[in-house]
């Protein structure tokens, strides 16, 4: 990875959790479930185009594997909730569930090809 790619990748991962944390919960509090769909359209749609969709996208892949911006969402929101007083130990069962569910999902996706 070149220096430029490192900076743009960090920037792309930096933007996503900020928008998620500052928009999503507030929109849901204001409009209910519709606010969640609105947040999905505005935040995920826009940031996906910036990070993966457009020609000079921010998150550059260094290898043949695909590192999605969902990593940034998960890690960023996790960090924010830890800073505001979430207990890391209590989230272990959810991390385990995410790993198991994700691995099964990956295997099933191969079947869908």
């Amino acid at each position: 990875m070149s220096g430029q790619a490192i900076i743009t990748t960090i920037l792309g991962a930096f933007l996503f959790p900020i928008f998620l944390r500052l928009f999503w919960g507030r929109l849901v509090n204001k409009f209910g479930a519709i606010g969640g769909f609105l947040a999905a359209l505005v935040i995920v749609g826009t940031i996906w185009i910036i990070n993966h969709g457009m020609e000079n996208h921010l998150i550059q892949q260094s290898g043949s594997g695909w590192i999605d911006m969902a990593w940034a969402a998960a890690i960023g929101v996790f960090t924010a909730s830890v800073v505001t007083g979430g207990k890391i130990k209590k989230s272990f069962s959810n991390i385990g569930a995410a790993v198991v569910g994700g691995v099964i999902g990956g295997i099933v996706l191969i079947f869908m090809l």
């Binding site: 990875m1 990748t9 960090i10 792309g12 991962a13 930096f14 959790p17 900020i18 998620l20 944390r21 500052l22 849901v28 479930a33 969640g36 769909f37 359209l41 995920v44 749609g45 996906w48 185009i49 993966h52 969709g53 457009m54 260094s62 290898g63 043949s64 594997g65 695909w66 999605d68 969902a70 990593w71 940034a72 969402a73 998960a74 890690i75 960023g76 929101v77 996790f78 960090t79 924010a80 909730s81 007083g85 979430g86 207990k87 989230s91 069962s93 959810n94 991390i95 569930a97 995410a98 569910g101 994700g102 691995v103 099964i104 999902g105 990956g106 295997i107 099933v108 996706l109 191969i110």
Partner: protein, 138 residues
């Protein structure tokens, strides 16, 4: 039971989002991402976090359904391209971890700043109110 429900939630999110995102973006180009985000991310979020298929303990740190989505794609790459795909992607992963931790922390700082500002404004209002009251009483 709770573990299986959460696992099902992360599994569903990874299948819905990763399996069908390409349909929209192949057909409509990058701006198909908006349709995909509304239909796929929106519905997956609704099932998992709004209806509550993924359950969190009280005061537990929040694990977004994005973790399932991300791990799903890494697993897919591992099955298709072998261990080399994971090793060669580590630099991108490290950059994303750094950026995401910074982003999460900065968002909390912004929130705190806004809350403190509101508190300060409210308290100054209350002080003014008290002063007004005193004037009226005087």
């Amino acid at each position: 039971m709770k573990f299986f429900k959460s696992t099902l939630g992360y599994f569903l999110a990874s299948i819905i989002i990763n399996g069908f995102w390409g349909i929209f973006t192949n057909k409509f180009g990058p701006f198909g991402g908006y349709i995909a985000a509304l239909c796929l991310t929106g519905s997956a979020w609704y099932i998992n976090h709004y209806l509550g298929l993924i359950k969190h303990d009280e005061d537990s740190a929040f694990i977004d359904m994005g973790l399932g989505v991300a791990i799903c794609l890494v697993t897919k790459g591992y099955i298709l391209n072998g261990i080399n795909s994971i090793i060669s992607s580590i630099p991108t992963f490290i950059c994303i971890v750094v950026g995401a931790i910074l982003g999460g922390y900065v968002s909390v700082l912004i929130e705190r700043n806004i809350v403190e500002k509101k508190k300060r404004e409210e308290s100054s209002k209350e002080e003014n109110f008290e002063m007004l009251d005193l004037k009226i009483i005087d």
